[in-house]
Amino acid sequence: MGHDKEHHAKIATGKGDPQCFIGTAGGPSKFKVGDRVRIKNLPDIFYTRTMVYTRGAIGEIAVVTHESPAPEDEAWGHVDHSEWFYIVRFKQKDLWPEYPDDFPNDTLQTEFSERWLESV
C-alpha cells in the first residue's frame, strides 16, 4: 500500500506485467510440472479469481507461469508481495460429475496462485 496511482505504469513500462514481478516471490516455486494438487476451498471475501467450480478438485500442474501479486491482494493495491502462478489441468470428469463418460479424454486448464494449491 501507499503507492501512487502511477506506480503500476512506472514498474511495468519497458518490462510488462507480470515480467515486472520477476524475482519477487521470495524463492523458487513450491510445485513443479506434473505435481498433483488439490484446489483449496478458501473463503473469498471481497475478491478472487478462483472459480467455485474448481474448489476441492484435484488436477496436475501443467505450466509454472510466472510470479505476480495474487489478485486477492492486487485488487486492493497490495502489490509488494508476489506468489508463483500455475496453470492446472483437470479431467473434465473431476470437475463435473455429470460429464459424459463418452469423452474421458476431455480436459480443462485454468490458473491459480500458490495459496490456492495443496499437495495431494
Partner: protein
C-alpha cells in the same frame, strides 16, 4: 490490418432511412463519457490522447495472430518461438506488447501463450470471469465471447457449445478448454489443414480466422470469414 466487420451495417442506401447517430445512451455509456470528461478536465490525459487511443483500439484486429499461425506452419523454428515466448514471437508480426499503441504504457498484461492443437487434441479459449482476450494481437472480442451463455456453458458442456458453432469432434479427440482467468492470454494454433500444400504465408493467413484462433472452429481452404451466428427473434417479443 483491417477491422473485423462481421456484423451487418446499414449504410443508409437501402430501404431504411439513415439511422440516427445515437438512438439511446446506456447508463454505462453515460458513465464512460462522464469519467472521460472529468479525466480530461483533471489533466489525467488529454482529449488528443483519448482520440489516438480510440483510433488504435478501433483498428486492431485478428490479422497479426493469423499471420503468426501461418508463419509457424511454414517455419518450424518460428513455431518453437511461438510456443515458448508468445510476446517475442509477436514482434515478427508487428505487435509489440510492451508498446502496442506506439505511445503510452504496455498492454495491461504481457504473457501470451500459444496453445498448439494436434490431430488428437483441440483447444478452445474462454474467460469465465469476464472476457480476458489477447487484444493487442487479436483485436476486440466478438460479442458472443463476452456473453454469460458462452462463458458459463463452455467450461461445462464444451462439446455442446462447439457443436452450436458447427464443430463436432470425434470422442478420440481431446477437447481441452482453457479458462483464461489470470494474467496469461491465449490463442489457439490449429493444425494446418489438408489441401494447403504449397500455399504462401498470405494465403494461409486468410484462412486463420478469429474464430479459429479462439478455437470454436477449424481452418479450411476457402473459409475466410467468421461464423455468422443465427439470430433467433423472440416468438412473443415484449414491447417496451
Amino acid at each position: 490490418m483491417s477491422n473485423d466487420h462481421d456484423h451487418d451495417h446499414d449504410h443508409g442506401h437501402g430501404h431504411k432511412p439513415p439511422a440516427p447517430m445515437v438512438e439511446e445512451i446506456s447508463d454505462f455509456e453515460a458513465l464512460e463519457i462522464a469519467v472521460r470528461e472529468l479525466s480530461i478536465e483533471r489533466g489525467l490525459f488529454t482529449a488528443e490522447d483519448h482520440r489516438r487511443f480510440t483510433e488504435f483500439a478501433e483498428h486492431i484486429g485478428p490479422t497479426p495472430a493469423a499471420r503468426m499461425v501461418a508463419k509457424a506452419w511454414l517455419d518450424p523454428e518460428y513455431k518453437k518461438l511461438c510456443l515458448t515466448d508468445g510476446i517475442k514471437a509477436s514482434l515478427a508480426v508487428g505487435v509489440d506488447w510492451l508498446n502496442p499503441t506506439g505511445f503510452g504504457t504496455p498492454s495491461d498484461y504481457t504473457d501470451l501463450r500459444v496453445l498448439e492443437d494436434t490431430p488428437t487434441r483441440h483447444h478452445v479459449v474462454v474467460c469465465t470471469l469476464c472476457s480476458c482476450y489477447p487484444r493487442p494481437i487479436l483485436g476486440f472480442q466478438p460479442e458472443w465471447y463476452r456473453t454469460p451463455n458462452y462463458r458459463r456453458r463452455l467450461v461445462r458442456w464444451p462439446r455442446q457449445v462447439l457443436a452450436e458453432f458447427g464443430l463436432m469432434l470425434p470422442p478420440e479427440v481431446e477437447v481441452r478448454v482453457e479458462d483464461s482467468n489470470q494474467k496469461c492470454r491465449f490463442i489457439v494454433m490449429p493444425v494446418r489443414p489438408a489441401g494447403t500444400d504449397g500455399w504462401t504465408e498470405d494465403q494461409l493467413t486468410e484462412i486463420v480466422t478469429r474464430d479459429c484462433l479462439i478455437g470454436v472452429t477449424l481452418p479450411k481452404p476457402g473459409k475466410t470469414t467468421n461464423i455468422k451466428l443465427p439470430v433467433h427473434h423472440a416468438v412473443n417479443p415484449a414491447n417496451h
